[in-house]
Every structure is written in C-alpha cells, then in structure tokens.
Symmetry: D3
Subunit: 241 residues, 6 copies
C-alpha cells in the first residue's frame, strides 16, 4: 500500500520530518511518500496561505506519476480536503480531523494546541466542517510561529506544554491534540506535564488511511465529493519554473 | 466610490451580466468594476473549482491597478472570502452572506434556491461560516447547471420558481435568496409564484458594500483577518499566457 | 425617502440625539423623522419597560399622520420588532440586529457592550431571535444606567471602553457593537482603545433601511408577519392626556 | 393559597372556561381566581396582539386588589412572562412552558398542536426562551382560529386530533401538548386517536404553581427578573372606559 | 398515593435522610417509601458505579411487593431513568431533571453544585438527555466526596456555598440546584450566601411525581419507553445473599 | 496483540458471527477473542436490556483471565462504554462510535440503519455522547427484530437496503452505517442498491482498536474515566449458576 503524505508548505525540511513521522507509524508493507507542493508559502499561517496551499496540494497530487492508495493532507486547520476528495477516488485524510477523531476514543473532551493565535479560527472551522466540534474543549495557541518551532524547539516545547496544561486544568480537556509539526520530544514533554494522552495528527492519519484501505472503503461519490464535471478550465494548471 | 465586483468563473458573459446587475443597484457616484479571473473554470460547481476560484479571485484583485473602496465576491457558496479580507484593507462582501443577511430583515426564515444539488453543501457551509444558518429554512437545488441557466433561461426560471414554491410551502421559508446568476425576469417570476420577497445576492452586496464605506467601516485586522505575515512564497503568482 | 426612527423611551433629549445620529448617516434625499413614544418609561432597562415600549412604539408609528418608507426601532435589545412588521408594510429595522448584522461583515466575531447588567439577557434574546448569535463572542455591561450615560459621559465612555477592551482580549471579539446611546466621542474612544471596528446600531440601521427601500424589498407577509386578523380590540388604544 | 390565572384575550367566556379547568386541577385549599384583561384583542393570534396582551396581563395583575401566591399566564406562546416576573415576587408560570416541562417527564419528545399556522413561530420562540426546545419534535397548526374552536368544537377536535396523530407518526412525538383552549372532550379524543399522553397547559401550570409555593420557592431577583428600577413612567397606566 | 423514593447507593443512612426529606415535601395523603438497593456501591461517584446502580434500582423496584403510584430515582446525574420508564407504567422522576425543570421556572439560568469533579460529566449528560441544558449556566464540583458530606457537614456546606457563589457571580446563574445529599442547613446557607433560590432535587421530584399522578399522566409507551419485548433473559436477576 | 470483542446479548451464535467478522478485519498478529456475557437478554432492544448488558459486559471483561490490549463493545447504541473506560486501562471502542467516526472520513453525512424503531433513540443518544451527531443525516429502522435478522436474512437484507436507499435519497446521506449484526451479503446488497460506501461497526472498531494500540494511546484517566474510587460494593458481582 502506498500513501501520499502531502505537506502544505514549501519548506522541504518540514516535509522530511512529516515523512519520517508518518513512516514511523506505518505498518509493514506500507510505503509512505512525502511530497512538497510545487508552489506556495514557506509556512502556512492564515487564510490566504491556506487557500493557496489547498490548490497547491491538489495539483501536487495530480502531478504525482505513480499509483497510490490514500492521501494524507498534512497541515493543521487547512482548507482543501474536500477538493482532494472530488479529484481522487482513494481515501483522503486530513490530519486535523484524524487527530480529533482519534482523541475522541481516548477522553470525553480534547483540546488542540497550535502555533499562532491567528490560526485558531482556521482550526475551529476545520473541526466544525469535520463534525468534530462537540467534544472540543478549546483550541489554544502557543504564540510560536511555524518556523520558530524549527528554530528554537526548546522554547516551543515549553510554550506548547504550558498551553496544554492550561487546557487540561482550565478548559477540562482530557486529551491534547498537537496542532503543530514534529518536534522531537514534544509529545513526551506534554504527556509528562499534563498526564493526559497526546495525539499527533500525522501518525493518527496514517493509521486511519491504512484502515480505510484495508476495509476497502473510499470516498462517497454520490453528491458532495463527486468528480468535477467536465468543463473548460482556463490557464490552469500554471507552468512553473 | 469604486467597488470591484469579481466573478468566480472565467465566462466573460456572466461577468458582464453581474456587472450590469450591480450597476443597476449602485448609488449615483458609485463606479462598479466587474472583473473576470485570469484563470479557473468556466463555471464553478464544486469544491475543486471553488478553491481554484478563491485563489484566482484574490490574484485578480491583487493585479487590479487602480484604487478601490470595496470588493464583492460574486459567486454563490464559494470559498475565499476570508483570504480577501486578509489581503486587503477595504470591506469585502460575499454575495451568499449578503443575500442571507438581507433576507433576515424581511422574514423569519429564508431559503436559498441554487443550481446543482452538488453545490448545496458549499452554500450550507458558507452560511455556517457566516453565522447565518439559524434562520435558513433550506437550501434547494433546481437541477440546472450554471451554463444551462444561460442556455435555456425559460426552463431555468421555471425549475427555480418550482423549488422556491416548495421552500415556502414545505420548508416554511418566508423569503427566497436566489443562489444563481442574473437571468432576466427570474426574480419577478419567483415573486409572482410565491408571494414572498426575493433577494438577489449581487444587488444586496452592492448596498452593503456602499453602506460600510459610507459608515467608514472596514475589516477588523486584530486577529483572523490580519495581513499575511511577510514570508517567502515559492513560484507564485504563476506567469499566465 | 422618509424613515421614521422611533426612540423606545420617553426622554426627548435622547430622541433628539438619536435623530441627529441617524441624519448624519442618511443619504441625500432621505428625511429622518425621530419620534418619542407617547407613553412609557424615561429609560428602558428591563422586560416590563421593554414590553411597554414595544406597544408604545407601535402606537406611536400608527399615530404618525404622514406616509413613510421604513421604520427603525431605536432601542437596544428591546421587544416589539415583530409587531411592527405585522402592522406595517414598509421595512422594519431593529438597531440591535442592524449592528450585529453589520459587524458580521467586518470580523469573525463581535461583542456588544451595553449599559446595565440586567439588560444583557434582553440583548442576548434579541440576537437569538434575529439569528445573529453564532458569531457573538459576548454581551458585556458597563454598569452605567442609560440616564447616567447622559449625566456623566466621560465616566461612561471610560467604563464602556474598558469592557470593549476585555471583549477583544478575553472573549476574542474582533468587532464591537455599541449597545447604548449616542455619546459624543464614544466610538472614537473605543476604536482608539481596542483597535477594532466599532459599529453603532442607529447609523447601521439607517443604511440598511435605505438599502431595503432602494432594492424594493419589504417584510414578507406570508406567515409570521401577516397583518393582524380583523377582530374586536377592547379599550385600545388608550386615550392619553 | 390563591393563584391568579390570567387570560390573555378579552373574551370572558374563555376566561371562564380556563378558570374551571384550573379549578379542576387545584388541590383542596387552593383558590383559583380567573382574570380577564381590561384591554386587548378578543383572541390573540400574532405578535401585535400578543405584545398588547403582555402589557394588559401585567396591568390586570397590578390592579388586582387582594394578596395572591402565584400567577399563571394562560395564553399559549405569548409574550410577557418575564415582565410579570419583574413586577411581582410570587412565582409566575407560563402555560406553554408548564405543558412542555411536564411533557418532558412523560416521553422522550413532545409536539404542540395549536390553532393557526401564524402562531407556530410564537410558540417556537417561547419554547426557546424557556429552554424547552431540545425535545420538541414539532409545533403543528390545526388551521382553526381561536374563536372557531369555540364555535365548532367538533370540527376543531377532529382537526387537532389529526395533527396530533401526524406528530406522533411523522415527527416521532411521544407526548402531545394542547396549545389551545379547553374544549370538552378534546384531550380524550386525542388520547384515543394517538395512544400517547396529552398535556393541557392550564392544569399543568396549576400543579407547578402550587408546588413552587409549597416548596417556598419564588422568582430569582438577582439579575434578569429584578424589580424595575424606580423611574418616571409617562402616561401609564392608561385611563380606561 | 404511594411514591417509591429509591436511593442509588447502598448506605442506609443516606436512604433514611432522603426519605425524611421527601416526606417533608409530600402532601397529606402521600406515603413516601424510601428504598435501598440490594446491591451496589456505598456511594455512587462515576460511571461504573452509576451503571450498577441503574440496574440495582430497577431490580429493587421490581422486587417491591406492594402497589405504588410513582417512582423517584434519588441519585444526582445517574444512569437508568429510561429503564425504569420501560419496566413500569407509573410516572418516573429523576431528581437531576426534577431540580433543573423546577429551577427553570425561577430564573433565566441555573447552576448545579455537586460533590466530586468526576461526577460533573455525568450530570451534564443527564441534563442533556433530559433536554435541560440550554439554561444550565454551569455544573460545579465542591470537591467533597459523597461520604465526606456526611462526615464533615460544616466543611461541606462551606465548600458548596463557595461554589454556588461563584456560579452566581462568574457563570451568571440565577438559581442553584443542589446536586448532593440532604445536609441540614445546606440550602439555608446557600440562600444566605448567594441571595438566589436554591432547589433540592428530592423535594422537587416529590411535587412533580404527585402532580403527574393527580393529573392522571404517565409514561408514554408508544416508542422509546415501551415495555421490553418478551424474551429469554439469562442468569438474571441474580440470587443475592 | 489481543483484542476482546464482547457481544452485548447472550446468544452465542451472534457472538460467533461477530468474532468471525472481527477476525476477518484483524491484522496478522492480532488475536480476536469473542466473549458472550454471563447474564442478560438474548437480544438487546431497549433501555432495560441495554443497561443490563452494560453491567454484564463489564463483569464479563473483569472475569476474563488473560491479558488483553483493547476492548470492543459490540452492540449498536448500547449503554456502558464509559464504565469500561473507568475499569480498564486499555483502549475501549464502541462499535456505534467506530462506525460513525469511520463514516465521517468517507462522506459529508452518514445515516445509520438499524433493527427496530425503539432502538433509534438509543443510537441517537450514543452518537450524541460520542460527539458524532453533527454529520448524522438520520437513524432509520428496518422494522426487523435482532433475532429475525438471523431467522430470515433475505427479508432483513431487503428491508435494510430499502431504508438505506431512502436515507441516501431523502435524508441526503452519503455513507451508510449498518446498525445490526453480521448477515452475509448485507453490505454488498446495500452498496449495490445505494452506490455509497457501507461501514460495518465491528470491522471499523477492530482497525481503530489496533491503531490505538499501535500508537501507544489509551484512555485518559484524568477525570471522567478515572478508575473507581476504592469503596465497599455490596452483593456484587453476583454468584451465577
């Protein structure tokens, strides 16, 4: 089984980290292919960048030349999952939804801890679209930008653990979803600080994608995610480079 | 005052019709500039096309060389309004939200009648994001594709009036929002058939945009719609043609 | 176009202030007529006074001898808008709903800052009835009574600005609606303190009423707001004076 | 214990019927006093009439010269209960809320069957304000006006039983609340037709009012229902006759 | 009229206290029979114990040899009320729902103050199932275990009054429901501290059960609470002792 | 890895069918152990039987002598999952929640088709408790009792396929969850009839349980699902046989 894990930003180091994380959770026999979009922002922290990423992810998968069995969109709180479901027949898993869906099996409520305050609304909307808001205790921001997470992982881990602890104590969260990239030691530190299970979206998404493939299930094409109707599309996709 | 009214599809005839409709509702002294996106689908009827339109509309406005006072996104149930609000300082009005917001001043409940069944979920999501779902009685599809509306306006008017009548009788709607383009005689026919007020999104959006400008109000930049942070954006915007 | 702007209390000085505010927002050619109810409380700060105001406003408009094109009910969080919609054919705009509806075009969430704590529930109910609760972050009270606002405007402005700042910081509001009368400098002070757009209900209502008239739209009479059925009404309206 | 049961319309025959119904449900030692408002419509079937009734009921209770222990507002889906709670210290029970609250102890869901279609929204709003919507399966109209119920009780009973049966079968109601006056045999006929418990608002309200008095409980005066603040009220109450 | 009041734990002293409380609220002619389950935990503070109590209460009522007119399940936030409704024809009243339903007649919002933090979710779920969440301001825990309430009533009263005061001030509750056993002086102390009405579930349930019996109303058997279908039940009920 | 799959009824043939279905979905290296409760009803179709099953399942797992890695509660819409989470440290997966959670990755909305009408409310409550209601289009009953499904599978398949088709057409479901036992050919027939993905709760639960174990995740013990406090439990568990 081959699963495409598509980063939403154009920073190759992040794609690589995501790919390693995904591979670590994959079953024997599952090949993880991590892809970087051919255009877009070096980090995605707002609606404009997220809409751009949505389209970039779709075109990146469209350009992938080999067959594949499932797609994971590896951005937290991003636009675009519905478009992938229209364009392809294989299952599509968004990591925000994968994390929340997994968290719901572990505790009565969960919170998400993310990077910047401005991405909180994007995550809230994605959880709503996913039908996963009812048990969400809160979405909290650590105040660290995506690229800062890479630059100063120690400070990032501390800021995130602090917000996780407040989610458990003040917002009554019983599980924490990490809404940010794969820093080494992050999950361990949050578990240690809060005593609650910590869910990572990428690894959760890998197990869900594998499960759907094994069960022979894929996207319903009956209405919302039917393939686009044949029509003229002007000046698209763009010629890059 | 200059208001940009941006079509979401690349069919120039539709842009022209929208522009005329908008101009008809504008106050003396308001200049309406109707724009067609430089790339994208000839009609927008699903998530992939809508995400593509979202980005195309943003780039089209970015490329517009003159100053302007407000932006109207003239597509029903489309993605992208939040991105425009990040990129620009002037007010941004989505026609789906403009119609619903106006309808709420006219009756206790409203229904939207749109083109294809597959666009119903997109409209429902947009109304949710806009906080305008509570008084929405239903979103109904006429079964006519966007371009069919142009090709056989008589059949389209009949199919839309039929769904409007069912919304009033079965779903207890008290106002109808037209979720499709500017066919001549459409609103009149629906009023005649149902006896309830009929709201057109484009004209409603023009009056709202003018009002916001006159009141000196514009998008809050404090959190969700703050300008994108300065960063490297790879291979974008594309070179077209 | 003539728009009736009806105060809900019997304090003529407040009627005058509301009238000036409304006139300042009106288009050339719009005549604003500000009316004081013939009976009722000198300020409206609770359910009994608000129910009384509801009826007083309706009778006041009924007694107005000239033709008019729209009605604005200029009280924050008051009962009665639905009754006006039954009695008259022209559009009716409630300032609580006008402010919230306008705020939703400016930010993802809004808060209302009002006078006394006891009027908070009235405003919350009015927003619910208006279908405008989903994006309401909070309704906050400054603790100043309506007539105190007139007597000590400096203290009032400070108390209101303080609550507005807390709404933006603690409740994540991105827009502030002013749920209290027209003190000079209030909006400016709140903008200065919070950095977010500030919406005044009276001016917002004027632009909405004008827009509905220009678009040829009025109240749906199909069900909820149908004219009262002909019947015997005992001892009403009362003989005053 | 003395309980005031206040009709909302000015038809004395209806007041008398309500009073008899209430007396039939009262405990030994409870005196039921049925009151007709001194002004208002002969039947209440819409917002204008209901707002007028709200004020008329308040003034009627205010003018009652003897002490009393509780107030029942005996109109279905009417405005005003909150005002009574402000003006008086004794418990206030609205029959719409009494019926729904009682029905919730009898089945998982309930429906209300009322007179005219135009009163459905009023009942829905009252149930919302009362926090009693979650288990409401539907509010259905029989199409009979209030005074028609008096004039042709056989047809009324049949029309109401028909809607009750549809509520049970189509809307999955498990209890029926009768949202209309006390026709002889009505409850029996609906029980016979549907096989589900039938709740009458007036009798339910009597038992609730008695219970509150016996438990020594009354309206909370801490915020929403605090007594009106002392202030000047102009031209009110009116001089009648 | 005979009402069974069934404790959910196996501590006889608590059964006795509940029985006295119930008897104090009963009308002349009502016999209160307080029952202790034949198996289960000495206090119920979590899901396992509550599910066990649910079954124990049902079997305890099944084993009761005399006729009876109503059943009160006297545990706060416990499972099982729906099962009792299936097994018996007489009305069943849960004290959590009785308290909330009564509180809604007294103030716009209510809070529940209970024993341990871990029982908060159970109460929240029960209020949801009862359709009584909309006006619930909060469920707060005093941190005192059920048996501690018996052992150190003074400290318990203080801890509960403290949370009640915070509910009124911070959560805007206007009524307090006591979600814990009958300590002498508790209600008085909370009224004194907060100034709001305080509702006790057991006494509220007695008046509701009496009212349903007097009105001739009982559980709807049309769907959810129909009697169990005849079938083989293995090894149940167990032989005790 | 060993997963316990616990039937909720005492019919051994159903336990066997569930076990085979589970084994068919398990990864190599996963051992499925199917258990029948030691007491309870031969089929579970209502609240009393479901509460009894809840306790029976808990005691059955408690009595299981070997170590295990996860528990699946294999009944549709049953009580008890929260109790298992308190009693054990390993992950607990309810099949109702597993099916819905899986369906949400496949389509915008899903419907459940179950056996008898009386179990619909139980499934709706379980989906609510699981935070999985928002995308649930409907829960429909085929009218076939659980044991009838075994006796006349052809009629059962036809009745279920019919309701599935109506869910897709009338309720706009895009995925079907089968809320009833493992009849051969059922899923295939429903896919064939409706063209939408069909999710079986048992197989979905197996993949979720395996995923949680592989990811090293288990139930949060911080609040709702903390182990029961040490205390005296009277006469329990019962001596059977």
């Amino acid at each position: 089984m081959r699963i495409l894990v598509v980063n939403v930003n154009t920073t190759a180091a992040i794609t690589e980290a995501i790919g390693e994380q995904a591979a670590g959770a994959a079953s024997p026999g599952t090949e993880i292919v991590a892809l970087t979009p051919a255009f877009g922002a070096e980090s995605v922290e707002g609606n404009y960048e997220s809409y751009l990423a949505a389209i970039a992810v779709m075109e990146t998968v469209r350009a992938y030349p080999e067959p594949f069995d499932a797609i994971i969109q590896a951005g937290y709180g991003e636009h675009g999952r519905e478009g992938l479901q229209e364009l392809f027949d294989v299952p599509v898993v968004d990591i925000t939804e994968a994390a929340a869906s997994t968290a719901q099996f572990l505790g009565r409520t969960y919170s998400v801890v993310t990077s910047l305050d401005r991405t909180v609304p994007l995550i809230e909307e994605r959880l709503h679209v996913g039908g996963l808001s009812a048990r969400c205790a809160s979405v909290r921001a650590s105040g660290m930008a995506v690229l800062d997470l890479e630059r100063d992982p120690d400070a990032a881990v501390e800021a995130i653990a602090e917000q996780a602890a407040r989610a458990v104590e003040d917002d009554r969260a019983e599980v924490i979803c990490l809404g940010c990239g794969g820093m080494s030691g992050l999950a361990e530190r949050v578990v240690e600080r809060t005593g609650v299970p910590v869910v990572d979206g990428v690894t959760a998404a890998v197990t869900i994608a594998e499960s759907l493939v094994r069960l022979g299930l894929s996207t319903s094409k009956v209405r919302t995610y039917a393939a686009p109707r044949p029509k003229r599309v002007l000046n698209w996709p763009p010629k890059l480079g």
